[in-house]
């Protein structure tokens, strides 16, 4: 699924790396706990989270993810966006709650991927 489709589905504002919206992601993970993302996630392209700090971008970068969708109306700071720019990470922000965002995206065909 193209990141662009996810942005449209979540009615999200794209805040970083708009030029990469045509990249594809094949699975996603929703969590506010970066420890769990690091420990349980594999081969996922999209991180859906309501946690906002620079470690969210670093965690996604470590996991080779390509995009982050911030939910619950959370807005990343300029510092976070600058970090995302360096990592070429698409950043989107949506008013949806986590459950709704995950539900919509899952229903459209993006799945959770393979656990370690």
């Amino acid at each position: 699924m193209k990141i662009r489709e996810i942005a449209a589905m979540a009615n999200a504002e794209v805040l970083c790396c708009e030029e990469l919206l045509d990249n594809e992601v094949h699975s996603a993970c929703g969590s506010d706990m970066m420890s769990d993302v690091l420990a349980y996630v594999k081969d996922q392209g999209l991180l859906i989270t309501g946690l906002v700090n620079p470690q969210v971008v670093r965690t996604a970068e470590m996991m080779d993810m390509r995009a982050i969708l911030f939910v619950r109306g959370k807005k990343p700071t300029p510092e976070i966006l600058a970090l995302a720019k360096q990592c070429e990470m698409v950043i989107m922000a949506s008013e949806l709650r986590m459950f709704e965002a995950c539900g919509l995206i899952y229903e459209s065909g993006l799945k959770g991927g393979v656990l370690k």
Partner: protein, 142 residues
């Protein structure tokens, strides 16, 4: 044997925001050296978890990454309080991280187990009041 390519980083223990910067640099360097995505990711995750641990628990320290033809060795050395019970610290879900760290998305008690899971060898040398040295090796497949 030829000398390894070595990268050294100081880990700033005062600044949670900058935690992980060294891991990002290592990841970039390994990419440039042409390692496989799997090797790069395992090294990155192990080092990032270790770096976060050093900032949460040990007021920083230093990291050294040595690249050999057949393996990558990561040494994380701190002058923190030491780990009182290594077996307990290795249990998934056990954490002594303060609540404030949990609110930042870390401290689930998965750091050390995840470092072990992503590396081929891991040794922990720790002494109470002196510090902790963790050595991790990721073998590079041929």
């Amino acid at each position: 044997m030829s000398a390894p390519l070595t990268y050294r980083y100081d880990i700033d223990g005062e600044n949670f925001t900058s935690a992980g910067e060294a891991s990002v640099k290592v990841k970039k360097a390994l990419r440039q050296l042409g390692f496989s995505q799997d090797v790069i990711r395992r090294v990155s995750i192990a080092m990032y978890e270790g770096e976060i641990n050093m900032v949460i628990h040990a007021n920083g320290g230093f990291a050294e990454v040595s690249v050999y033809p057949d393996r990558i060795v990561i040494v994380l050395d701190d002058k923190g309080p030491g780990i009182p019970n290594v077996d307990l610290a290795m249990q998934a879900g056990y954490s002594t991280a303060p609540e404030q760290i949990r609110s930042l998305g870390f401290g689930a008690g998965m750091g050390l187990p995840n470092m072990k899971a992503n590396t081929d060898e891991m040794t922990i040398e720790t002494e109470i009041g002196v510090g902790t040295k963790i050595t991790m090796t990721v073998k590079v497949g041929t």
